[in-house]
């Protein structure tokens, strides 16, 4: 017998709209999110961050109601006992170390010192930053800053994690580790709501996809039906490195790479691959074995029409 989830297990948007003055943020959103990994997909400016900020009470809806496991975002003192939000704001209190950043906000949550310290170290360990934890955040790389923010948002062990473009700026290995962490959290029964404009990420980790554009939800549904489509379709990836020519020659030798083009500033290259999984594995190997210093690997496939085609249009798996 199938057990229907209770309303206290769900995240519910009821006819939610948000306008910034005359500008539309999101409009007439009706959405129910069950536990598991749900990806909000859409191009930049489509309303993903607005939805996430509405869920966490950072902004308030012009109309409609939002319920997170039966709680409303107007009660932060209750909401953030069960919600953790890792936003895109890449800013930190001045002068703090990674450890201080995590532990001090655990104490703001109300944890006694010893418990805050224990939980801070657990979270830092989970994101693999133990060695850098006592260094100042100002000296961290973009990927490390992303990971320490992730640690801060999971440190109080929330039931709902809201993550705005959480893989941005991570190197391939950290990216794979972080996706593994998300899967682990989802297996523990958490809600993970992850925004992304990158298809490959969505495909790798989501149970469910919500496609959003211009403030409207265009479609929602499972991603299993579109996996094969994605594998057949080349995706474009930008790599920042110190020796783009050498790297281009090496990656182009792989059968799944269909195009490699140098970036105009000669500090990177664009690669098109039909097999993102194999490509990222290859990048991991190259990062370790070759002399090329890889700064970042970022899929740049953010075209909405392509997203729609991959996820909904061709598979018919969604409920448009």
């Amino acid at each position: 017998m199938r057990v229907e989830p209770r309303s206290t297990d769900l995240i519910v948007f009821e006819d939610v709209s948000k306008f910034y003055g005359e500008i539309l943020g999101v409009n007439r959103i009706n959405l129910t999110i069950a536990p598991g990994i749900t990806s909000l997909v859409g191009p930049n400016g489509s309303g993903k961050t607005t939805l996430m900020n509405l869920m966490t009470g950072l902004i308030q809806p012009t109309r409609g109601r939002i319920s997170i496991l039966g709680l409303t975002p107007t009660e932060p003192e209750r909401l953030f006992q069960v919600v953790g939000y890792c936003g895109q704001f890449d800013s930190f209190p001045r002068g703090v170390t990674g450890y201080e950043f995590v532990s001090s906000f655990l104490r703001v949550h109300g944890y006694p010192r010893a418990k805050a310290e224990e939980k801070a170290w657990q979270a830092i360990e989970r994101v693999g930053l133990v060695e850098a934890a006592q260094r100042r955040v100002a000296g961290y790389s973009k990927g490390m800053r992303q990971r320490i923010r992730l640690a801060q948002s999971i440190a109080h062990e929330p039931q709902v994690m809201i993550l705005d473009e959480p893989l941005n700026g991570l190197d391939p290995m950290a990216r794979a580790e972080t996706i593994r962490l998300f899967r682990e959290l989802a297996r523990e029964g958490l809600h993970l709501i992850i925004s992304s404009h990158i298809l490959h990420e969505v495909d790798t980790m989501s149970d469910r996809v919500v496609l959003i554009n211009n403030g409207y939800i265009l479609a929602e549904g499972g991603v299993t039906g579109v996996r094969e489509e994605i594998e057949d379709h080349p995706i474009q990836i930008m790599i920042r490195c110190d020796q783009p020519r050498e790297l281009a020659a090496r990656v182009f030798a792989a059968p799944h790479v269909v195009e490699a083009q140098l970036h105009p500033d000669r500090q990177g290259l664009f690669v098109k691959t039909t097999s993102p999984d194999e490509f990222f594995l290859m990048m991991n190997r190259l990062a370790i074995e070759s002399s090329v210093v890889i700064e970042s690997v970022t899929p740049v496939d953010d075209d909405l029409a392509a997203v729609y085609h991959y996820l909904i249009g061709s598979s018919g798996g969604g409920e448009a």
């Binding site: 003192e77 953030f80 939000y85 906000f105 703001v108 418990k115």
Partner: protein, 289 residues
């Protein structure tokens, strides 16, 4: 929730909730006080707080005639000091210092894009207002009390050792020091609440702050009723030596302590309540600031 600590939270004002709030206030105080004393914005505060000390040092120690003038005519020296205290310490150092500290409690975090970390904690926003205000008070009262004390030290130092001991032990010396320090504290309390309110309500707080400055500065010209709608009136009521506000000033009897202190406390409480109401509805939209 997985934690026994946050699970104890309830909206009732019971002992567990109050102790939870207290822990949160202490945690915020730790972060904010360190930011107020060691952050990059603190430099201006130190310069402001040092200004009266340096001026008194120059007048009383470096100026060759200064020390002898002070010890020869102590009454005039005290009168000069009360005017320096009123114009420089109270109306300039404490006023602008409080503006800098308290307006930046929220506005500074919006500029630094770090306010959302507090908004994303299991924390009542009212508790955040109280904690931030306390943090501002710790910074303001510490700096400006030492500034007042430093200025008084050089005044007394110039008068010489035996005369000072007599003045402090047998005369009104201690009362004066306590009065000056208490006025400084009350000024931080009142101006702090006003500037925290301004920092939260106005996108550009400079203009309202200057309006308040003008109102406080022109207070001596205002009719008696309006004169009492200011902070400076209540502060000047307790100066150990009355100051002469000039020929155009409206004369109003000083407000007694039992009215002025509760009035300032009540005013501060009301402003904090308004600030708390405002912050409950506040949105984080850094890009639009």
């Amino acid at each position: 929730m997985t934690s026994q600590y946050t699970a104890t939270y309830s909206s009732r004002f019971d002992k567990a909730t109050l102790s939870h709030w207290w822990r949160q206030i202490v945690a915020i105080l730790r972060i904010e006080v360190s930011k107020n004393f060691w952050g990059r914005r603190a430099l201006l505060l130190y310069l402001l707080a040092l200004a009266p000390v340096v001026i008194l040092f120059l007048l009383a120690i470096v100026d060759p005639d200064g020390a002898s003038d002070i010890s020869r005519d102590w009454n005039s020296a005290q009168l000069a000091f009360v005017n320096i205290y009123d114009a420089l310490i109270l109306r300039t150092v404490v006023f602008f210092g409080s503006a800098w500290i308290f307006m930046n409690l929220f506005r500074g975090e919006v500029v630094d894009r770090s306010l959302h970390y507090y908004f994303l904690a299991a924390l009542r926003r009212e508790v955040l207002v109280v904690a931030k205000y306390f943090a501002g008070m710790v910074a303001a009262t510490t700096l400006f009390s030492f500034s007042t004390l430093g200025a008084l030290f050089f005044l007394y130092y110039a008068r010489g050792y035996p005369a000072n001991v007599d003045f402090l032990l047998d005369g009104s010396g201690w009362q004066q020091i306590v009065a000056y320090e208490a006025i400084t504290l009350l000024a931080c309390l009142g101006y702090g609440a006003v500037f925290m309110f301004i920092g939260l309500f106005f996108r550009n707080p400079i203009i309202p702050a200057l309006v308040v400055y003008g109102w406080e500065w022109l207070n001596f010209l205002l009719p008696p009723f309006l004169k009492k709608i200011s902070i400076i009136h209540y502060l000047e009521s307790h100066l150990p030596i009355p100051i002469d506000e000039g020929p155009f000033a409206t004369i109003v009897a000083p407000t007694p302590v039992w009215i002025s202190v509760p009035s300032l406390l009540l005013f501060t409480t009301l402003v904090l309540i308004l600030t708390a109401v405002r912050i409950r509805r506040m949105e984080i939209r850094y890009g639009m600031e």
